[in-house]
């Protein structure tokens, strides 16, 4: 009986949610809501790879799973504990990549990177995962959240970062004792690819402007090639404005006048810096979600990469970023009604301001916040 009631409830939620999607997305939808409500759909479940990550990652993932469970999301997780600082417990890289390739979507916490290398290898586990899956584009959508106090308001910019080459090539050597050379690799092919990604993102999301962040005045060849590739691709998009800005100026502009930015496209290291500045502007690492794309797969992870290992086991971390990642994942796999439900619940909790974690100036615990979100699901 309880089984029946549960399933019936779920069907009702799905059907009403589907109607909501139709009316929200398309004002002059062809198929009426009544018609769509009359259809019952066999349940299909999505499988998603889950990497809890280091630091507070596992706690945040637990919070995410609680919310998913409460919202009845038809998503199953394939969990891999994957870690570089905990090598004995870590799953193998091949297993993880195989799972992500199969499921096409992944939710990932942040992996801690040790300052030394045990094996002498220069590539970190994070970089290996990215190169194996060819996750070349990292997208962080930085948006001011309701109820979060910050210096600037109405920030809405997207930072697109190339993350498979540039400074993160893991090619370093000590040619003469005391002299270390570190190679930064820029290729025309990958630069054109990330530039096209940025412009296609802008086209798809009705954005007006793409800013290329570079340092071509100093690195005339490397960053010069990146800039030139962006310029060439921009010619294919006559209806989107293209701008270029030097990275040092960009950082200053970001903290003084962030509202001028729309979509930004950057090479690897600048992207990491700009990401962190922008996240800081809207409330810190705990509230901004990001995603990494390859042609085939998509990995959702928090926008600024901090493990927050000081807070492990203290029930302090802010789960907002991870929950937003989950909401973005749901949207990506065509479960938009669930995504909207979770996003609006988070917004309501933040707006009310009764439950705030420490990073936002409150005293609430991770659990308090999670249950507040669950209470606001409808």
């Amino acid at each position: 009986m309880s089984f029946l009631a549960r399933n019936l409830g779920r069907t009702l939620v799905q059907v009403s949610a589907r109607g909501l999607q139709t009316s929200a997305v398309n004002q002059n939808a062809i198929l009426s809501d009544e018609f769509l409500k009359g259809l019952s759909k066999p349940e299909s479940r999505t499988t998603c790879t889950l990497i809890p990550g280091d630091g507070v990652g596992p706690e945040l993932m637990y919070s995410l799973q609680e919310v998913f469970k409460a919202a009845n999301c038809p998503v199953d997780f394939e969990t891999f504990f994957f870690s570089e600082v905990n090598p004995t417990m870590s799953a193998r890289l091949e297993d993880v990549t195989a799972s992500i390739k199969k499921n096409k979507v992944c939710l990932k916490g942040i992996l801690a990177t040790p300052d030394f290398s045990r094996t002498g290898e220069l590539q970190t586990l994070n970089m290996k995962l990215r190169t194996d899956l060819d996750l070349y584009a990292n997208v962080v959508h930085v948006r001011s959240l309701p109820g979060v106090k910050s210096r600037h308001h109405d920030i809405d910019c997207v930072i697109i970062r190339e993350q498979t080459e540039g400074e993160y090539s893991a090619l370093e050597h000590e040619s003469i004792p005391g002299v270390v050379e570190c190679l930064k690799i820029i290729t025309a092919k990958k630069s054109a690819r990330i530039a096209k990604f940025a412009f296609d993102y802008a086209t798809k999301n009705q954005r007006k402007k793409v800013t290329c962040v570079h340092k071509a005045n100093i690195m005339k060849l490397g960053d010069g090639l990146f800039l030139k590739s962006c310029e060439e691709i921009s010619k294919l998009y006559p209806r989107i404005k293209f701008e270029k800005m030097i990275v040092d100026n960009t950082t200053m502009q970001l903290v003084s006048n962030p509202n001028q930015f729309d979509v930004m496209v950057t090479p690897n290291l600048y992207g990491s810096i700009v990401d962190n500045i922008a996240c800081g502007l809207v409330g810190g690492a705990g509230v901004v979600a990001g995603a990494s794309y390859s042609a085939e797969t998509c990995v959702f992870e928090p926008g600024a990469r901090h493990t927050f290992s000081e807070a492990v086991g203290k029930n302090l971390a802010n789960p907002t970023a991870m929950l937003l990642c989950g909401a973005k994942m749901l949207r990506h796999v065509n479960l938009q009604p669930y995504s909207d439900m979770i996003t609006s619940a988070i917004n309501k909790v933040l707006n009310e301001g009764r439950f705030r974690t420490k990073d936002l100036g409150g005293q609430s615990t991770t659990t308090d916040f999670t249950y507040a979100v669950i209470d606001h699901l409808k």
């Binding site: 062809i30 198929l31 018609f35 019952s40 296609d200 798809k204 042609a295 998509c298």
Partner: protein
């Protein structure tokens, strides 16, 4: 035309890697005249991100916009991972800004789905936008798979013919002039060895890959001994590379008669541009009308999918009686092309069942249902399936 070509190639030629390798930069003239037919292109990265594709959508005129809305509705219902970039081309405008933007967009996305685009202007310097699109993108082959639906009453049953048509030259070369003597107009038909070979090879490869045993080349080489002669000769030469596939040829007038009296003798047909448009309309007519079949245009780099016969259907626009099946079939072709087999199979099955089992037919097939009835029934059929995103 040559001017237009030169202007477009200026933007896309000169790939950076070639430029950096060669010491001296080639002029536009050199590039254009070394290989006058095949435009050299830089490979633009694919528009596929996180498993989702971006596709250009050109609704065109007449019933195009409403049919595209149906396609989008069905795609949204079953969660097809495709994002459309919709570009409207104003049929009344004289300029070609929208068209140029559409062409740029297809170059970026690689794939497009389109209705028929009207060109209302009758000025001699405004070229047909459909033709311009094919020429600029070098979509040298048009493929029309004619398979009759068992549930539809038509003159012939069990037709299964594939028409492979040259799409960029022949009579559509758009070289006409009245300069020689007043009252005398000359129109040029251009047939080239290179393009004829590309089409013939496509036809034979298609036959080989789909297990068909015969290719028929349609021509009029008894009259146009040089131009159609070249086309025929080229296809005979290509046929020698495919000893397992039978090759025969047929004169266009005889071919039309054979088609309406005994269409079952044909398997794959290979022909020039104008004959192609005639033959495909004949076959659509005998297999159940313009509202069912879809056509595909392929080039080396791009693909455009559209309804099989290029009619705008302005007369029935907005009356909710247009047959949405042709456009849906075009969208299914597109999904197969993009590799979304799972979704394509589901939609194709729903469409087939709607037409053949539920017999929800619009007036052009002799039914009395509206377009919306067809779409609702397809969605109902789709709702029976479990579709992963």
């Amino acid at each position: 035309m040559a001017l237009r070509l030169a202007r477009f190639t200026k933007d896309i030629i000169r790939p950076t890697f070639i430029r950096s390798l060669s010491t001296k930069e080639e002029s536009l003239y050199d590039i254009q005249h070394k290989q006058p037919l095949q435009k050299r292109l830089t490979a633009i990265p694919n528009a596929q991100y996180g498993g989702r594709h971006a596709v250009t959508m050109l609704p065109g005129g007449g019933i195009g916009p409403e049919l595209m809305n149906y396609v989008r509705e069905i795609f949204r219902y079953c969660g097809v991972p495709v994002d459309f970039e919709i570009i409207d081309i104003d049929p009344n405008s004289e300029g070609n800004d929208d068209l140029e933007y559409a062409i740029t967009s297809i170059k970026r996305n690689g794939v497009a789905i389109k209705g028929n685009i009207e060109t209302k202007s009758e000025q001699t310097d405004t070229i047909s936008r459909n033709v311009a699109l094919r020429n600029e993108l070098d979509l040298f082959v048009n493929v029309l798979e004619c398979k009759s639906y068992p549930g539809i009453i038509s003159r012939h049953q069990n037709i299964d013919i594939v028409i492979v048509r040259q799409n960029t030259e022949g009579e559509y070369a758009m070289l006409e002039h009245e300069q020689s003597v007043p009252g005398v107009v000359e129109s040029m038909k251009v047939v080239t060895d290179e393009n004829s070979e590309r089409v013939a090879r496509y036809a034979f490869e298609y036959a080989k890959n789909t297990g068909r045993s015969r290719v028929t080349t349609v021509h009029k080489a008894n009259i146009m001994k040089l131009s159609d002669g070249l086309f025929l000769e080229t296809s005979r030469r290509v046929a020698k590379d495919y000893p397992d596939i039978k090759h025969n040829d047929m004169i266009i007038d005889n071919c039309c008669m054979q088609l309406v009296s005994n269409p079952h003798q044909f398997e794959v047909m290979n022909m020039t541009n104008l004959y192609g448009t005639i033959v495909s309309n004949v076959i659509c007519g005998i297999a159940g009308g313009a509202g069912l079949l879809s056509g595909k245009n392929y080039g080396d780099h791009y693909a455009i999918f559209e309804p099989g016969t290029r009619n705008t259907g302005t007369a029935i626009a907005g009356k909710n009686i247009a047959n949405p099946v042709a456009m849906l079939n075009a969208s299914i072709d597109m999904l197969y092309h993009l590799g979304h087999k799972h979704h394509a199979d589901a939609i194709a099955d729903a469409v087939y069942k709607t037409v053949c089992e539920d017999r929800i037919h619009t007036p052009d097939l002799g039914g009395s249902h509206t377009s919306l009835d067809v779409i609702q029934n397809i969605v109902r059929r789709l709702s029976e399936k479990t579709i992963h995103w």
